[in-house]
């Protein structure tokens, strides 16, 4: 029987290598795989390129990974948050570079990468500073930008429920980037609050089919970033 479970978060992330490109799920704290990110900090991989919608808050989760100096480049749509000084400091000092991508274009580039689409034409950002240096083309009298698919060596995401084969269901708006990042990661690593046997999830309700998932580890009570930040927590 296919079994993609790993004993703990440390084993789940052990293959991540220096210089890797990672996609990390989450929109703000919703869907952020904090425990996997903390395991990655312990693991020690550095010089990472991270594709994630935001840059975390406080000094836990993604912000902690940034603070630890492991991220040389961020690809995201909204690096500012109310409770974060980590990324601004790194950015202003030039230690982390930023590729700013509109949120919908980021989502579509990730989906394209996972779906074998090399590039596509989108109207988003045409005529704005984010179009600078990009190829444009007119369709039906409107300007579109050529945008390229994105893939990653690893994807780190959080699920509400998984089976041992990697079929996944998410919690409410925590779904956000996870299903498309699972498609675009060469090795997709999942922390799931609950893991069940195959067949226990109604096949009509599975959001991410197992084919997109490689490692599943059990994190029964995932931390909420906002609570950690409110408590002044830091990692490590």
């Amino acid at each position: 029987m296919i079994d993609k479970t790993r004993a703990n978060v440390a084993e789940a992330v052990q293959e991540v290598f220096d210089g890797a490109t990672l996609m990390i799920g989450g929109f703000g704290e919703a869907g952020s795989p904090i425990e996997l990110i903390h395991a990655l900090i312990d693991h020690g991989a550095s010089d990472l390129t991270v594709i994630s919608n935001n840059c975390g808050s406080g000094e836990v989760g993604l912000a902690a990974l940034l603070k630890a100096g492991r991220v040389s480049k961020m690809i995201c749509s909204f690096p500012r948050t109310a409770n974060s000084t980590v990324f601004p400091d790194l950015y202003r000092s030039g230690r982390t570079t930023l590729e700013l991508v509109p949120q919908g274009t980021l989502a579509e580039r990730i989906r394209a990468g996972g779906a074998g689409i090399a590039a596509f034409y989108t109207p988003t950002a045409a005529g704005t500073p984010l179009a600078e240096g990009k190829e444009t083309r007119r369709f039906h009298d409107r300007e579109y930008l050529l945008e390229y698919g994105l893939t990653a060596d690893f994807t780190l995401i959080k699920a509400k429920l998984a089976d041992t084969r990697g079929n996944l269901i998410y919690n409410k708006t925590a779904r956000n980037f996870a299903p498309i990042m699972a498609m675009a990661g060469k090795l997709t690593i999942v922390q799931a609050a609950e893991i069940v046997a195959p067949g226990k999830i109604d096949p009509e309700t599975i959001i991410t089919p197992e084919i997109f998932v490689d490692r599943v580890t059990h994190v029964p009570n995932p931390a909420h970033e906002s609570e950690l930040v409110a408590a002044g927590a830091t990692y490590p």
Partner: protein
């Protein structure tokens, strides 16, 4: 501006109510963070709007009661919300397919500047030390059928926000349909800014004076909503 001048025109709540008046029943709507969110409070009796939040929820409801929220049920402003009956969750690529594919009827956004051609600047002051952050704003203005802007008519320093051409970095080109300010409702037409409605006690000249481009007077019938 003097203290007296500050009292002319609509309050933030009145501006939001004025926007709400113009949104047809059954519209699929995305409300930007901040003042645009107020619009939901002023939807006229008997009218139903369906709220989309780009992080992945349709039929978004108001904030939860204390203690009843879920940190993973949030809106694009990362605040906790609720899901109404008929709600659905979806991933980012599907959410922006709704936006980019023209499935949303209306988006209400704030602005730094709006040009007479309908260009919008609302995501960056363009300062060299700013951390640039755009989120879904460029997707929304590119994809949603109608774009309403809700904003103070002038900056805190009294500079007009409605201008001939934007000096701040653009969010989108020729995207704004209407602007709702504390002083007036203004449509963006092929001829430029066209006055649609005035706040009580405000006249055309006052609005023109505080607008950085030529303002066309109210027409009997405007069709640019």
């Amino acid at each position: 501006m003097t203290a007296a001048e500050k009292h002319i025109g609509w309050s933030r709540e009145e501006m939001a109510a004025r926007v709400a008046q113009d949104i047809p029943d059954g519209s699929y709507v995305n409300l930007g963070i901040g003042i645009p969110e107020l619009v939901a409070r002023f939807v006229p009796e008997g009218r139903e709007l369906i709220y989309h939040t780009e992080n992945g929820l349709l039929n978004m409801g108001p904030s939860p009661k204390p203690g009843e929220g879920d940190p993973e049920l949030i809106n694009a402003g990362k605040r906790q919300v609720t899901a109404k009956p008929g709600a659905s969750y979806f991933h980012q690529s599907d959410s922006f397919a709704m936006i980019r594919g023209g499935h949303l009827d209306l988006c209400v956004l704030g602005a730094l500047q709006v040009s007479q051609a309908g260009d919008l600047a609302n995501w960056s002051l363009g300062g060299p030390d700013d951390i640039p952050a755009v989120g879904g704003a460029m997707d929304l203005v590119a994809g949603v059928k109608s774009i309403f802007v809700i904003t103070q008519h002038c900056t805190k320093d009294g500079a007009p926000k409605l201008v001939e051409s934007c000096t701040y970095p653009l969010t989108g080109v020729r995207v704004v349909n209407r602007v709702y300010t504390d002083l007036a409702v203004i449509a963006v037409t092929p001829g430029g800014f066209q006055l649609v409605d005035l706040a009580p006690g405000v006249d055309f000249e006052t609005v023109q004076e505080r607008t950085g481009a030529r303002l066309l007077p109210i027409r009997e019938t405007t069709s640019n909503a």
